[in-house]
Amino acid sequence: MTRLTVKLLGMIVALVLSIGVGQGAWAQEAPAVDRTSTGGAQTLEDILRRQDGLKVDNSFRSDNIGDPANVAGENGSLGTLGGVSDSELWRAYRYGELEKLGDLRVSAKGPDGTGDVTQVVVQDTGMAWLEFRKGPMKDYGGYLLLGTVGVLLLFFLFRGRIRIDGEKSGRTIERFPSIERFAHWLLAGSFMLLAVTGLVQLFGRFFLIPLIGHEAFAPAAIAGKWVHNNVSWAFMLGLVMVIVFWIAHNIPNKHDLKWFAVAGGLFSKNVHPPAKKFNAGQKVIFWGVVVLGLSISVSGLSLLFPFELPMFAATFAHLNDLGLPQLLGLGELPTTLQPHTEMQLAQAWHTIIAFVFMAMIIGHIYIGSVGMEGAFDAMGSGQVDEQWAKEHHGLWYEEVTGKPAHDHHPAE
């Protein structure tokens, strides 16, 4: 085990280091570019740097917005054109410098209620969303999933498979009836399909296109979108069923404190805190699935029916009322949003929730399969060995069978 452990640790260190080196490229300063050949406009070098994701100093464009004071006299040639050319005006739009050209307002008020001409003509938050999606969202989301897998690998190397401590009895009892298993697998199967197709939507451009090419990726991505959109209904149905079947069993009780006190016996052999149908760890997973599942469903519905179910302006209004954003120093959040901004926020939120959800479920899949002997049977056949039930869900075993789980520990 030790050689394997050392090798694995080396791989993880190498991975972390390579990420650090990769990030170094972003820290480069934009070099000064000679633009005399283009008369001050952008050069091929600027375009190539931008395509490579390198930093470009855009001040040569953002500052080049003309000056209303330069207007030619009324009697001069071209006197009525003003001091700002069309290109300069649009650059001012593009870089949010419009106010420097004067107090330009439109009579139709924009979503911010001010008649700000930029808000009405240009939907500028699209760029911020795009940058966030292909930058921090993708990077940190990926690190979260890789990190979760790494932690589980380490846990497996040090703790190994959690075995049944006592002798298997050979007798089984029913842990989950088939309707509950059906609900679980409806939720789990659809979750896996949604996770894989969702990851393809976000990472496909970076990992799959270089691997399989544009021609193969395009139909795969379209098929993935179909799956993601339509399988979502099975996920929502499974979520509702699971909540209905199990919510009563997941109300916290005093046994959960004991479970947390010994970390569920996850890190030590022969430690089995008493638990009813679900132990505290499973309750954390359950409530995580409920909260994340509902949030991802609502934001998903908002995306499934574009512009029909905007939810962020209303959410921000509630948050403002609670005073939460003000407490965090964010000030009041905007309560009127453009339709496209609503969609961008819904997409970003949907993905953030999805990453947290996936990280949690990776842990759940681990402990329900390779991580613990006998755990899969509960959801596979629905039948678990009596010894497994006594060790992991002693109080539930006593409830179901009427027999004590441990000789020295009579039923409470």
């Binding site: 059906f182 609900a183 409806l186 199967g189 209904w233």
Partner: protein, 41 residues
């Protein structure tokens, strides 16, 4: 394990059903994002 495969089958049935139902209810992407003056086929 039979229940698990039954649930996976249900996912496929629900997905195809949802697609068909939304198309028939006029929620196809073509209908939602176009006007009557646009010829779709």
């Amino acid at each position: 394990m039979k229940t698990m495969f039954l649930a996976f089958l249900a996912i496929i049935v629900i997905a195809i059903g949802a697609d068909q139902a939304l198309h028939r209810a006029g929620f196809s992407i073509e209908e939602v994002t176009s006007a009557p003056s646009v010829r779709l086929d």
